[in-house]
């Protein structure tokens, strides 16, 4: 999608923002009351892992918002994005939020979060599936081909999927 097209559209993709606000409001309140106070070696390891997942969150959010159309509702997008981070994963904002949930778990180190985080991860998955349903309805086979070539949340196996969807080796 070119820039002028996307800028002309409204920033009306409210659902990710709303889900994220709800998600992190709950996690933050739980973090304040349940943060572990131990300071052993494992705590340092967990916090290190939390830092790693937080960095992934920042990287994914930044990469997704390189494109103005990220903030446009899937119902109003003129085309679907497939460059930059979208060449590897289809829902970078959802992926970022899931990584941040894991980061919270590592930071807080409490079982209280273990019960809540799967619910939010499921919520992000449901939203991603809903968005894909809309985009398949709008763009049809072209979007299905893109789905075959990319992952929903994780970028692994990227080259293999690209190979599978490219028609290479079909001679």
């Amino acid at each position: 999608m070119n820039d002028s097209e996307s800028k002309a559209e409204a920033d009306n993709n409210y659902y990710p923002a709303l889900i994220a606000i709800m998600n992190f409001a709950v996690l933050l309140s739980l973090a304040m009351t349940n943060m572990a106070s131990t300071v052993g070696l494992w705590d340092f390891i967990f916090v290190g892992a939390g830092v790693y997942f937080s960095m992934k969150f920042i990287r994914l959010v930044r990469s997704a918002h390189e494109f103005e159309a990220t903030r446009v509702s899937p119902k109003d997008r003129k085309t679907f994005l497939k460059e930059g981070i979208y060449a590897k994963i289809r829902h970078p904002i959802g992926a970022a939020a899931i990584y941040m949930n894991i980061a919270y778990l590592c930071f807080v180190r409490s079982f209280a979060l273990v019960t809540v985080i799967p619910v939010f991860i499921a919520l992000w998955y449901i939203y991603a599936a809903y968005e894909e349903k809309i985009l398949v309805g709008r763009f049809g086979d072209e979007y299905r081909e893109y789905v075959r070539a990319t992952s929903m949340f994780r970028g692994s196996g990227y080259d293999q999927q690209r190979l599978a969807s490219s028609g290479y080796d079909m001679y």
């Binding site: 559209e9 994220a20 973090a31 300071v39 937080s54 997704a64 930071f107 690209r162 028609g167």
Partner: protein, 236 residues
């Protein structure tokens, strides 16, 4: 004299090694002992952990707010422009209008697909991947060389050269109509050589295409230009 030097050599090496390890140990103790001593304090460790944790939580929160701020502000103040689909739904619920809206959406989708195709063709043209073809006689055979120069800003993968050979020209035994060149790095050039056997056909009719995967997952196809002839083509 020489034998004395040789026999004392391993001993001196071992001595040097021992001294070196002692020095390293002393150096590490000097460097790390104060750190370990400080980390014995549980209060300090707790402070370090909570500083790191809350710093990252605040930074991530700010990153999210900065990037999602336009959506949130539009949600709070009301969107500046209502999406097209909703307008169509609220104008009228009659069947005829719904059908018109549906047709318009299909048309929009078709237009977008067409635009996307044109955009892809333009991207391929502007990508900077150049293909050149030259043909020269090699005895009774023809040697066709396809040069692919990756002048784009990203590596191209799975490069395939596929020839479209006219009647009257055959591929020589041991040579193939299609060749895979693998990946071509930025600024790099790779060539595919084909040995062809002329049987009365015109070598200038040779066509085909070069296919590759660009930085995104898209497959790009460039047609092979008319080969440039080098030397005399006709039999003497």
């Amino acid at each position: 004299m020489l034998s004395v030097i040789i026999s004392s050599l391993p001993k001196s090496t071992m001595l040097m090694q021992n001294d070196l390890w002692d020095d390293i140990q002393i150096f590490l103790h000097l460097l790390l002992d104060p750190l370990f001593a400080a980390l014995q304090d549980e209060g300090l460790r707790g402070t370090i952990l909570s500083t790191v944790i809350w710093s990252f939580l605040v930074i991530c929160g700010l990153v999210f707010v900065v990037y999602e701020f336009p959506s949130i502000i539009n949600l709070l103040t009301g969107s500046p422009s209502t999406p097209i689909r909703r307008q169509l739904k609220t104008v009228s619920a009659s069947r005829a209008k719904a059908a018109t809206a549906s047709a318009a959406r299909h048309q929009l989708s078709r237009d977008k697909t067409q635009k996307e195709r044109e955009r892809r063709a333009k991207v391929v043209k502007e990508a900077g991947v150049r293909v050149a073809a030259k043909i020269e006689r090699e005895g009774a055979l023809l040697r066709l060389t396809i040069d692919i120069n990756n002048g784009s800003t990203s590596k191209i993968d799975m490069v395939i050269v596929d020839l479209d050979i006219p009647a009257g020209i055959n591929v020589d035994v041991g040579s193939f109509r299609m060749q895979r060149l693998g990946s071509i790095n930025v600024g790099e050039m790779k060539s595919a050589n084909f040995r062809l056997r002329p049987m009365g056909g015109d070598p200038l009719d040779i066509g085909g295409h070069v296919e590759f995967l660009g930085a995104s997952y898209e497959v790009s196809i460039i047609a092979i230009p008319v080969p440039e002839t080098i030397g005399e083509m006709n039999d003497e």
